[in-house]
Symmetry: D2
Subunit: 296 residues, 4 copies
């Protein structure tokens, strides 16, 4: 299979279950909503070493938000609901409540699982907080020096999927990287997914395990062009750099849609030679995303 | 005292000791250095609820970096060196090693305190990592799928100061907020300081303690204009919104310089009525920054 | 009429006929498409002193472009078709052909009026240009040092409308300006309109004529708060700053939609006191946009 | 000669005299200063087809501006002083006077050549304009709806140089383009120069003349990799894309400094194979910039 002359390997990405909550941040301008969103989703690339996996899902204009202001959806992901509740409490309390002009609404009001994060954070109001019905939502108004902070009482969470992915093999690093940028940008327009790594891109694709017993993951030596002389690199001769796009999504469909949009975008960039995906031969994950099926 | 017609209250900001490390991130473009810097300093507003206080100190052009590439200095701050070492390990490992085209150099090579974070992270190379002398620095080259990651073996850290601050009192929220943006921008040009809150701005200035015993801090009710009718707001009648700028710095002088630049910038914005600062009457902090002295 | 507590004056905006062409610029990334778009639409605020009125209409993702790459639509407007043809020739030739990785497609392929701008520009290829059918479009491929430039042979143009507008009256300058930013951002999500002034905002709303005979327009003294003491300002006492949003659109409906989205956004910003619109009492324009009707 | 493994050809760039004026735009925030600067310098790549060559020279912080607000220097260039005066009048009148919160100061107050652009634009005030001495400058205050516009009476201009340049030859388009981005970014930190093309980069390097007599310039076929099969491309086999950086500067020294910074930055990007420069064999220009001398 080929797209725009780029070979698509007949393999699959392998995904894992993860719990995720969506928070809709609104603010006086889109710019300030994004500042809060970036802070709240920072240091959130992988649960291996971060307290959560987090990213900006999409921008939302005022015609689609409860308070009519511009906003951004973020997704926060943890392996279990207990950790997710903690992530919500600390990321909202430290990064959204503290951010200029923001409000925080649940992006999953229909979910079965609900956390009363808004109620817990309302105690910051020192007794002056007030519960209210606003825009059809059950919210708390917390008086701040800069103005009242409005936060929904409950935030919903669902079973999602982590580890959707594809790999971009380039003639050189800049071709692969620009393709990664184009892919992340295309995915950023879609609802339901995030690309939690820096700028949406993984520079350090890994394998499970290591020769060092204290490490859970290590560099994917077989894909490291600089190890060609060591005899461990299995990349074709013309490939000299590989970037990975990792995608978490609220559903199998959302990940499929993101993979399709991202791969299509990457294949428009000159110098991209091949697209493949990372998996564990189906031994570890619960979901498989075959590239050829996703791209149909 | 007045600047551009804005009253400067005769009071002081109160600062506390904190440990901080500077990391110089370089990348193929300034844009990618900043992507890594933002991810590595995210979820890093206050050690009350974040694993560190962190921010982008300044942009560094290629003429001032070891590898001649553009870069950004970040500062990572913790109450003790043990926590700081952890922050370095996880924030660099998860957010810089994973970011496209980055290298990480110590921004405090002369410091007495040194952590071998680069050596620890080098094990990700799964035995293929190599120590080298590059650009006069002792570094590790870790093979990645996208290319080698270069990281200095040791990262220095020093005693710094947290809690430098000033408050901007505005006729309304947008006047105070624009002044805060102007202040943060002016501070961002300086070396030695960060403004770790979202977009550099604190919307939720707080007091120590709370009527709720389980909370260490709560909203500063005396400065909440929306509590005027409750009789607890002590702001002048014409003030309706207050934003705070919190500044961490490597030295007393750097904080003074940042406060001066920030206040001067804020006072150029129409609708700003008064500048003051937050303190604990000198009972808690180790450093005092009197506004009138700082602005001389 | 009120929106979110902001008074909407019962008046109308007055629009004029103008000719406009839409150009779809695609590039390797959205970022580079926008660089070209900004250059091509610069120095394009008003035909009073610019060679055209021009602006970025909206961002277009790869799923909606002929070549599958990300892009941006721009609109270029002139009083007559002859001037518009010139604007296309020079703005495309100087700002899009010269921009990295771009292609230029007609955004109005169905229009009756067509200019062969692509054919004219193809001569830059010095005989090496080639006509081709690509993506269902009749294009020219012009060899450049950086790669081939693809441009559609013909660009369509239509009768549009200039001068849609509304005015934002604020308690102070920062409130009115932030509201203007929010309004422009909301309009930027819509198809069919541009806000051609710097950052989408007009700081210098004008009236037709002047006490100086050599000037066609002059400051709208009745709306200048700084002329209150001169007795010419008719603004209410609490208003101290007014910004105008000027909108050009491909149809009456597109301007109505943009006015509605922009006013709704502006009215969410604290410190906005009133929305009104500029007209010439219906004496000059061909289209009237009554605010109360637009906002229904 | 090599930099970081990239070959630097022993050739020279050839420059021409041009007239240029520097305008310092200040605004309430750096962001708004840049909005005005972008509009005022747009549609300004080459005097072949634009009314001027223009670009943002550098950002200026509030400690270095007359009014203490953040700002941006722009340079506007024309072949003669008469055209330059027109450019100042129209670009300032249409793009800076109209932009939110801006003021405009002369960036060359010491120049022998002076234009009274500020005085001419002051008539927009319809009789309410007032001359004043502000910040040690002779300015006009023009009442606007959004607040007063302050503009210096006179703007200075000097003899500068156009056509400083270098070419980046890459293994592929993305390598050459990323290097161009890095080069432009490095140059943007310096005072005295602009890179007037879109995003600072020229995709369509040209030669003087054409097989078509009505064209003054045409594609540089010898450097077009896509014409390799036509037998006209003289590029080495491994080169597939070439971008040019064109630099205008206030002095020979400023162009030398910019070329040095830009080339050094470009040579740090993997996939860049060679740097060269464009000239007319010394037959047309008045200044020569030998690469090896510039890089010493």
């Amino acid at each position: 299979m080929e797209i725009n002359g780029v070979q698509i390997e007949d393999t699959f990405a392998e995904g894992f279950p993860i719990k995720m909550a969506r928070v809709l941040i609104t603010a006086v301008t889109e710019r300030w909503a994004l500042e809060a969103a970036r802070e709240a989703t920072g240091f959130g690339t992988s649960v291996i070493g971060c307290s959560a996996e987090a990213g900006i899902e999409c921008i939302v204009d005022g015609s689609q938000t409860p308070d009519g202001r511009p906003g951004a959806n973020i997704l926060i992901c943890n392996m279990g609901y207990k950790n997710l509740e903690n992530s919500l409490l600390f990321r909202l309390g430290q990064c959204i409540l503290t951010a200029p002009t923001t409000s925080a609404f649940s992006g999953m009001p229909e979910a079965e699982k609900q956390f009363d994060t808004g109620k817990k954070l309302s105690f910051f109001g020192d007794g002056y907080q007030k519960q209210a019905e606003l825009f059809g939502r059950n919210v708390w108004k917390i008086p701040l020096m800069s103005g009242d902070f409005v936060i929904e009482q409950n935030f919903g969470a669902v079973d999602g999927i982590a580890g959707g992915n594809f790999l971009i093999l380039g003639q050189n690093q800049m071709a692969a990287l620009t393709a990664a940028e184009a892919a992340v940008n295309a995915i950023s327009k879609l609802k339901g997914t995030i690309t939690p790594f820096p700028g949406g891109v993984v520079a350090s694709g890994s394998r499970v395990g290591s020769k060092y017993k204290f490490l859970k993951a290590s560099t994917n030596a077989a894909f490291c062009a600089s190890l060609r002389e060591d005899g461990v690199c299995t990349l074709a001769e013309d490939v000299s750099s590989v970037f990975e796009i990792v995608i978490n999504g609220v559903s199998k469909e959302s990940i499929q849609e993101a993979m399709k949009a991202g791969i299509n975008a990457a294949c428009r960039v000159p110098g991209v030679l091949k697209i493949t995906a990372a998996n564990y031969e189906g031994k570890l994950g619960t979901h498989q995303f075959p590239l050829h099926t996703v791209l149909e």
